[in-house]
């Protein structure tokens, strides 16, 4: 008897839920006007106010659309490169332009197309798959979209001024540092990546909380649609992986702007530090792109085969295993850098191991297809089959490259170009195209054209093989990557010409697809509906409010197992059939069993998150082109808009508990461990914690290369007494915050004066702690050595935390004085407390390391 079968005592929520289930579906007629009220609450603004829409179907569709725009733009860059490479010593573009082209092609495809595209599919599909009304933080996703769209567009436009980055998508220093790349080009790369970092982290928070807290009641984790699992792993990988590149970009910009020598060997830096940070992010990045696509495939294959996925548990395990293993393979990009033999063995073994879960998934899909009575070859099926072939081939060359001796030969040749395009086109583009054809009827008035889709498929499928299959040979012939031309003597002229022909074949297929989208994709109004007969909740009848009522789920394909479900949902016979508090709301459920916990009020359309995105984008753009005052203005706009946006949050228990259906009463306000906002805060803290961990790695990495020069001769160690005082101030400020929290629970029975005094003292202690860092090692010059640079980076990270807490603390003072924060309505305070604790811990650990580590060794 397994643990699962043992009866567990039910808590209060579970008992209420079980009781409610007896009354559902509730077939009594719905009150008049309920549906109209629901429609009014969820209606999307029209005209120019469309920009303020936050509904996930719109934001998700824009997001997918913008990513496709960047896909087409980066594809055009590839065509220019293929023309240049069609003949030896061609003179279409010179090396300066070509280097910008391949850098932009790779960067845009990875950061502005692939990651946003899969994230966009999450925003678009997840609430529907959970039958939730929306994502838990709709303005956050809309903000992420706008920051990405504005920032990405500006980044692309840098090409037209010839100032686009030219150091490769991997941006290896020393080439990309200020000595060899003094222009603004590399800064544009750091800028463009900055936006993606922001929107990826925002998206990851949204997806983790969405997947764990807003599922349909009864959708226990073992019934989570595979795409939900894939997105959960995706978000987890972003949370663990992106911090490495966030820290990397901070370090590289510090080196470029202020000459802190992190990567300059002569000054005690190390170019390999960048490679470790970049690839610790960069290889998981490939799986960050692939896993959601695999999740989409696992959703479509059951519909194609008209059978449930074979080996659901094994596929989930495979997704999770891929997530873990992918963080142990980064150095296979560094086999030729001369890393120690032991590392070679470890990373080679891990690179092999990561193909095991891929094999599991491929065979699970094939086993499911075997169950099909008859497979209909519509466009999604074609793209899924194309995916299986191309991805398998790319996976196999990946196994080859995991073998160190083979990699020593094939590394940085066209063999790699072939491999990575097989993996990424096969593993991501084809599933995405299948998914767009498959899910368009869910959001668009018309389905896409079967005829055009088949043309697009065959052109893209044949074009991919024509372009990239021959490139394996080109690489074996010895042609290096990232070259703007080649000599006739290299004997690669005809194979390159073939690749160019293939590239235009792919382009023709994409053009057909774009035409199909322009002709048939129409947002708004009645959607085309379940044309492929899918069995999951996103195929319930939809309005602006998603599904009319939220059903209880007890299978992975509820629409197949309960054919009457769609009409029951549409008739409002399940949970939350209307807008019960007259505002936008959705049910928050427990993370494992999906038991309803409370009704969350979620924000509607607004201009503030749009202005915040414009402020963010404008700030970084102006800073990149060194317009400091303009940057300051945008910065103020951004911060002001965020604060205005935040002032609308945390409304408190302004409505009594409501009956969400079947007699289940749910509160409409929650703080503490059940709150979705506290969950989001913890996710954010993990991100910050990973950034900090990467910084500790960087510090120790530079130390390990020069243990005798730590600190270098002539540089004094940190002053320990101020360091101790600083730690005490940081720790004290957190204790003061805990005391403030106690005082707050007695408000409004007592006046908030005591709370405010404790809060202000805590802010003062925080600032004192930060000041203490300067006293501790103000005499160490960060530009003089890698030691100085990496020690000061701790202070930079602490400074970012202190600035955030300072702003937030001031905001909390304002809220309290306006009577918007008290003993019950205290989510804003509980959130800041989480971050405060983290910041105090980070500062204490960092000071301990930077002040005491050099003394110990």
């Amino acid at each position: 008897m397994s643990a699962k079968d043992l009866p567990e005592p039910l808590d209060e929520n579970e008992r209420a839920f079980e009781a409610a289930l007896k009354n559902l579906p509730d077939r009594t007629p719905r009150p008049e006007g309920e549906l109209e009220e629901l429609e009014r609450v969820w209606a999307k603004p029209k005209g120019w106010r469309t920009l303020t829409v936050v509904n996930n179907d719109y934001v998700g569709s824009w997001y997918v659309g913008a990513s496709l725009m960047f896909f087409v733009l980066a594809g055009i860059l590839a065509l220019i490169m293929r023309v240049q490479l069609a003949a030896p010593l061609a003179d279409i573009v010179g090396p300066e332009t070509y280097n910008q082209l391949f850098t932009m092609h790779g960067t845009i495809m990875m950061f502005l197309f692939a990651v946003p595209a899969v994230e966009a599919m999450g925003v678009l599909l997840l609430p529907q798959m959970f039958a939730a009304r929306d994502l838990p933080f709709p303005r956050l996703s809309a903000f992420a979209f706008w920051a990405y769209f504005i920032g990405g567009t500006a980044f692309f436009l840098s090409l037209f001024w010839g100032v686009a980055p030219d150091g490769g998508w991997f941006m290896n220093p020393p080439y990309t540092s200020y000595i060899f790349s003094p222009g603004v080009n590399a800064d544009f790369w750091l800028l463009g990546i900055g936006f993606i970092e922001i929107s990826a982290i925002a998206g990851a928070i949204e997806i983790v909380v969405g997947c764990l807290k807003t599922r349909a009641p009864g959708m226990t984790l073992d019934k989570l649609p595979i795409f939900g699992w894939a997105m959960l792993v995706f978000a987890g990988m972003i949370i663990v992986g992106f911090p490495a590149i966030i820290l990397g970009t901070i370090l590289l910009e510090l080196e470029r702007a202020f000459h802190w020598p992190f990567f300059i060997a002569e000054a005690g830096g190390d170019p390999l530090l960048w490679q470790h940070l970049f690839w610790f992010f960069g290889h998981p990045e490939v799986y960050i792109i692939f896993l959601p696509a695999a999740g989409l495939v696992s959703m479509m294959i059951p519909t194609i085969a008209r059978a449930k996925l074979v080996g659901y548990n094994m596929v989930v395990l495979a997704l999770v295993a891929t997530g873990f293993i992918s963080f142990g393979v980064w150095a296979h990009h560094m086999f030729t850098t001369g890393i120690p033999d032991l590392s070679l063995s470890f990373f080679s073994a891990a690179s092999m191991a990561v193909s095991i879960p891929a094999g599991v998934q491929v065979f699970a899909w094939i086993a499911t297809l075997m169950l099909a009575r008859k497979i209909r070859f519509n466009v999604p099926t074609l793209f899924v089959f194309g995916f299986l072939v191309i991805f398998t081939m790319g996976g196999l060359t990946g196994v080859m490259l995991g073998l160190v001796p083979f990699d020593w030969q094939a590394h940085d040749t066209y063999f790699i170009v072939a491999h990575l395009h097989y993996v990424l086109i096969g593993g991501m583009v084809f599933p995405l195209f299948a998914a767009i054809y498959y899910w368009t009827p869910m959001v668009s008035q018309n389905a896409l054209s079967e005829r055009l889709g088949k043309w697009a498929f065959w052109l893209m499928f044949s074009g991919t093989h024509i372009t990239f299959f021959i490139m394996h040979y080109t690489g074996l012939q010895g042609m290096p990557r990232r070259v703007y031309t080649y000599l006739p003597a290299q004997d690669v002229s005809s194979v390159n010409l073939i690749s160019t022909v293939g590239a235009f074949t792919i382009a023709a297929g994409v053009a057909v697809f774009v035409f199909d989208m322009l002709r048939n994709f129409r947002l708004g109004g009645e959607n085309a509906g379940n044309v492929y007969d899918g069995g999951t909740l996103e195929w319930l009848p939809q309005g602006d409010y998603c599904a009319r009522s939220i059903p209880v789920v007890d299978s992975t394909q509820p629409l197949w197992d309960r054919p009457e479900l769609a009409s029951e949902v549409k008739a409002g016979q399940w949970f939350l059939p209307g807008a019960l508090t007259g505002r936008r709301e959705t049910i928050v459920t427990s993370p494992i069993k999906a038991i309803p916990q409370y009704l969350v009020i979620i924000p509607g359309p607004s201009i503030w998150h749009v202005l915040a995105a414009i402020g963010t984008a404008g700030f970084f753009l102006s800073l990149t082109v060194k317009l400091v005052w303009v940057a300051a203005a945008f910065g103020i706009l951004g911060i002001g808009a965020v604060l205005r946006w935040m002032s609308e949050m945390d409304k408190g228990p302004d409505h009594p508990p409501v009956d969400v259906g079947g007699g289940m009463m749910l509160p409409v306000y929650m703080t503490g461990p059940k709150s979705h906002a506290i969950w989001a805060m913890w996710v954010l803290v993990i991100v910050f914690g990973m950034i900090f961990a990467c910084q500790i790695f960087s510090y120790l990495f530079l130390w390990s290369g020069q243990p005798d020069a730590w600190p270098p001769a002539g540089t004094g160690a940190a002053a320990t007494f101020p360091a101790v005082l600083s730690i005490a101030a940081y720790a004290g400020s957190f204790l003061l915050m805990i005391a403030a929290g106690r005082a707050l629970s007695r408000v409004p029975e007592q006046a908030p004066g005591r709370f405010l005094m404790l809060l202000l003292t805590a802010i003062a202690a925080l600032l004192a702690g930060f000041g203490g860092e300067f006293a501790a090692y103000g005499h160490i010059d960060p530009t003089a050595s890698g030691f100085g640079a990496t020690s000061w980076t701790f202070t930079v990270l602490n400074g970012l935390q202190v600035a955030t807490l300072f702003l937030w603390g001031a905001f909390l003072v304002w809220r309290t004085r306006r009577g918007m924060t008290d003993g019950v309505r205290r989510l804003s305070f509980d959130c800041i407390l989480v971050l405060w604790g983290f910041a105090a811990a980070q500062a204490s650990i960092s000071l301990t390391i930077s002040a005491f580590f050099p003394l110990l060794i």
Binding site: V310, S345, A349, V360, V362, F363, P405, Q409, P480
Partner: protein, 305 residues
């Protein structure tokens, strides 16, 4: 008959085992691809009995887990063994050449003399290449002789190459290094050991004196316009280290880091406008020189054998 590409046409013991491994991988990869495509075809047109036999979780356990793990383990063991055996020669005594990557050429430091852009080695003997970088990342690769290894500022890497027969082997920079990356190439020339000894002895001697009037005029011009501030010509006043050593430039087969055949015409053309052959090159052009002056310079350099 199509010629085999260099990776599949090895010319030495550091490359040959990798070629054998490559063939195994390619054939294995083709078989597995066909297997997957075959299974997909069965799913579409197979009989119900066959399909039923191939459905179910057993399929995942056998195909996805069992088959994958076994074949990967075999490959991993073979790969690690080969990695170890290729690296195991690092303790032996052998000829050592220090190769430094610069934008966008190669400095070659032999025991007793310096050369550039054309690596001459004795056939049948292992040679240790010490890899250094003077500026950005580069990577050293001669596909027919060995896998590649990166040149990283501040890091001392090395690599062993060996040609088992005399010949000319193409080499490339394979780490992106900026504008001249595509045209940062070189030749490795393996000579029979006795010829190599003669070559090395000749390279160790100072530069030949200009033999005729034209060459003498060329040398004076070389001196006057300041070539020596970047280039070294041993035995003369030219002692620069910024650019390639030209003491024996006339003995090399290629010019401009492996991109042009070396003769008087290309020497003159390169000197006048190196960026025309190699965009981004750091050497300035000397377009103001007359055709006669360029001829004289080329004659002088051509005579530096």
């Amino acid at each position: 008959m199509l010629e085999l590409p260099p990776i599949l046409d090895p010319a030495g013991p550091q490359a040959a085992p990798v070629t054998a491994l490559s063939w195994i991988l390619f054939v294995g990869g083709a078989v597995i691809t066909l297997l997957i495509v075959g299974l997909m075809i069965v799913a579409v047109v197979g009989t119900d009995r066959l399909k039923a036999a191939l459905a179910g979780e057993r399929m995942i356990l056998i195909g996805g887990l069992g088959f994958t793990i076994v074949s990967l383990l075999v490959l991993l063991i073979a790969g690690l063994g080969m990695t170890a055996s290729l690296a195991s020669r690092s303790g032996e005594e052998m000829l050592t050449v220090r190769v430094t990557g610069l934008r966008w050429w190669w400095r070659l430091e032999y025991p007793g003399f310096e050369a550039a852009n054309e690596l001459v080695i004795p056939a049948g003997q292992p040679v240790r290449i010490e890899l250094r970088s003077a500026d950005v990342l580069h990577s050293f690769w001669v596909p027919q002789l060995a896998g590649k290894r990166d040149m990283i500022p501040g890091k001392d890497n090395s690599l062993i190459i060996e040609a088992d027969r005399p010949g000319v082997y193409a080499g490339y920079c394979t780490e992106f290094c900026g504008a001249g990356h595509a045209l940062m190439q070189f030749r490795t020339i393996a000579l029979p050991p006795d010829e190599y000894a003669l070559w090395a002895a000749a390279q160790a001697r100072p530069a030949a004196l200009p033999a005729d009037d034209l060459s003498q005029r060329g040398q004076r011009l070389f001196d006057r316009i300041g070539c020596g501030s970047c280039h070294n010509v041993a035995g003369t006043r030219a002692a620069g280290r910024t650019g390639p050593d030209l003491t024996h430039i006339g003995s090399r087969t290629m010019l401009g880091a492996g991109i042009l055949p070396n003769n008087r015409g290309t020497l003159a053309g390169w000197t006048a406008d190196p960026a025309a052959s190699k965009p981004g090159v750091l050497m300035p052009g000397y377009t103001y020189l007359s055709a006669g002056e360029l001829q004289a310079l080329a004659a002088y350099m051509d005579g530096l054998e």
